[in-house]
Amino acid sequence: MKTEAPPAEEKKAEEPPRKGRSLVVEGILIPLLALFSALVVGALVMIFTNPEVARAWTSFGRNPGAALSMSWELVGTAYGALFRGAFGNPTAISETLVASTPLILAGLSVALAFRAGLFNIGAEGQIIGGLLAASYVGFTFDLPLALHLPLALTAGFIGGAAWGAIPGFLKAKTGAHEVITTIMLNFIALNLLTFFLKTPIFQRPGRSDPLSKEVAESARLPSFGDYRVNWGIVLALVMAVLVWYLLFRTTIGFRFRAVGANPHAAAYAGMSVAGAYVLVMAFAGGLSGLAGAANLLGVTYSMSPGFLNYGFDAIALALLGRTHPLGVVLAALLFGALRAGSLVMQGTAAVGVDIIVVIQALIIMFVAAPALVREIYRIRARGAVETDTFTKSWAS
């Protein structure tokens, strides 16, 4: 790798590092430029996949104005609608927060496991574990709200934790790799869900299609006023604080991080690596389960077959937030805004919702490759360039 000439580097390293400026560059400027670059590339994709606009570009030589103005109009309407759908009015903000809630919780789940050196691809299955448990408690019992709702949420946490603990236990006991076991458990959970939705325990009476009973009023997360946003978002934020506290202020959290940094050293220091794996996966699974429960008890109230499709996003959020709870929350709010805005964008600008998936991928790419952003915008690196490593290898 040819980087800057070494002598100049060394001289710079001797100077007292100006922390303030590098923090602004690293923490704010680069993520903003990453977001901007992702939106620019997303706009290019929109322009060149729209048949009418693309045709205008083929006759660019004859009529350059038409091509430019059509492109401008397309991108302007699309991003305008995206922004309005995400932040334009109280309803839009409510939708953004609703979409962010499960994202925060699932992102925290993956981030927590990353801290202990485990790659949790199983958020999707753990969400289903949480869904099944929370909905069972939600429609079976008849209790006052103050008792029923916490009980349903706890059930969701436990359901997810049980599903998450399996790969942790298998890894600790037999060394089975968690990437394989979590993927397999996702598909097992998916089939279990489909199975249960056809049994009389879960299926709504009088329905032939696999749709579950609705959870009782007393188990629902109360919403704020007339908006769909509910106490789920508060729950998610509280969990983010708790995860931060667990990771950075408790012995258990220290153990997780030690095992994640170097399992051999942690074992040598007398920590139980196996115990940490089981515990962290149970916690992570519980958070994913809570993501499912919060969505069920706050938004949908019933289950239908299929993945909720938060698993991929959860991995992305954990990476984008650099596995820090605060970072995950900010990233989840951004993704939630994109999710909420994309629906309005599809309605008004006829640009498919999937474009935001492209934009999300580009955001992660640019954020994960600060060197690339520096190169595009000609920002000089200060001091040693740090690279993030999340997972060392397949083997522990």
Binding site: P51, A176, F195, I364, A369, A395
Partner: protein
């Protein structure tokens, strides 16, 4: 790798493991006797068809008395279990495990097909076809990881290639051009992964995740934007079945192995070729050296980064071939997210097969078999919820990975950044 595992053969752990294995054999025997033997009324028979799609010579179906055959297979399992418990099979334990599991599955099939018939060759045929993308995907992962770059983007590369193959194949009116550009699109994403992880030092798992999400987003967006409006861009046609003269007329084996489309032949050739190249050629030695100990490889003059770039792009091309199979070899059109997680199954097959082409192929066959088994059993109306049959391969994988494979050992430098000093 087996020599490493065999060294501490007399340790206490392996003795306990051998005992557990013996008990498992016995239990499988008992279970098949109980469910499949005594669970069948006497006097029924199971018939297995032995003719493929294109059988030149008609073979009579194999008819077995259901109850007696299942009991016989159960006895074999129990007998092998007894030997394992008393004497032990030592190094051949896993082979015997394979035999026992085979007997169990056969007993299950006999039970499932009691008073009915099951086309055996048809099932094996669909097993092979379903294992094609998984095998090729596993080879893609293996090419990258043997050189020290983790590739979890197989899924995304496959999906992109499936899309490219469909749209280019339709536009050009040629499946060959579709296949070529499908492979090319995979290689392009491989190049992206290589640039991100080698030049820009992005964490390899992150880079792979980016590609997966990007591929899912782009293909879904484009298919909604373009393919839904221009339906004629989504009918690339499929590669025809090529029957190899003479060989395809051999009963059972002929229709199974020698009457397939180009993807199946390519898969066989590539499994063998990569196995030889990786373990018997200079290129393979260099690749493995870079994956195990890049610094040592660099010291003897191997260009570590060049090897990694090349291998990741080759892996991308391989994933492109795997993805093209979906549109050009199997379905004949593109559907959103049509790979449906097979890239991840391929990843599992690669680890399951211990980063070894032949092993990965074997693992892919297991997935393919379970997949086609579930399909056939649904037709036989077996009184088991289809969801549990669908779950079976995944449960089996977990059991095998946890119980048999244990701590799979990846290339030592897998996933690690190499910075030349």
């Amino acid at each position: 790798m087996s020599t490493v595992a065999a060294a501490p053969a007399t340790s206490r752990v392996s003795i306990r493991r051998a005992r557990v294995m013996g008990i498992v054999f016995m239990l499988l025997g008992l279970a098949s006797a109980w469910w499949f033997g005594f669970g069948t009324e006497g006097g029924l028979s199971s018939s297995f068809g032995l003719n493929g799609r294109s059988a030149a010579t008609e073979l009579p179906a194999l008819v077995l008395p259901s109850r007696e055959s299942a009991l016989l297979l159960a006895a074999v399992c129990a007998f092998l279990g007894a030997i394992q418990l008393t004497r032990g099979f030592g190094q051949r334990t896993y082979l015997v495990l394979g035999v026992v599991v085979g007997c169990f599955i056969l007993a299950f099939l006999i039970w499932a097909a009691r008073d009915d018939s099951l086309n055996m060759v048809g099932m094996l045929q669909s097993t092979l076809l379903r294992s094609v993308p998984i095998t090729l995907g596993a080879l893609a992962g293996l090419l990258c990881e043997r050189s020290g770059v983790i590739n979890i983007a197989i899924e995304g590369m496959m999906l992109t290639a499936a899309f490219t193959g469909a749209i280019v194949g339709s536009a050009a009116g040629s499946t060959w051009i579709g296949l070529l550009l499908g492979i090319g699109s995979g290689a392009l994403l491989g190049a992206l992964l290589a640039v991100l992880s080698i030049r820009y030092r992005v964490d390899q798992i992150v880079g792979g995740t980016v590609i997966n999400i990007l591929a899912l987003g782009l293909t879904s967006y484009l298919s909604a934007q373009i393919l839904s409006r221009y339906q004629n861009l989504n009918s690339p046609g499929r590669f025809p079945v090529i029957e190899i003269p003479l060989l395809s007329e051999i009963p059972i084996v002929g229709p199974l192995l020698f009457a397939n489309n180009i993807f199946v032949y390519l898969m066989f050739a590539l499994v063998i070729f990569i196995n030889v190249a990786l373990f018997r050629s200079r290129w393979g030695l260099r690749v493995r050296a870079v994956g195990e100990h890049p610094k040592a490889a660099d010291t003897v003059g191997i260009k570590v980064l060049r090897v990694r770039y090349r291998n990741v792009m080759l892996g991308g091309a391989m994933a492109g071939l795997a993805g093209s199979y979906f549109t050009l070899g199997s379905v004949g059109r593109f559907d959103e997210n049509m790979t449906g997680g097979r890239g991840f199954i391929a990843l599992a097959a690669m680890i399951f097969g211990r980063w070894n082409p032949i092993g990965a192929f074997g693992a892919a066959l297991v997935f393919g078999f379970a997949d086609s088994l579930q399909n056939k059993l649904a037709i036989l109306q077996v009184p088991i919820a289809s969801e549990f049959l669908l779950m079976a391969p995944y449960i089996a994988t977990i059991l095998v990975v946890a119980g048999v494979v244990g701590r799979a050992r990846p290339p030592a430098a897998d996933g690690q950044l190499y910075i030349k000093e």
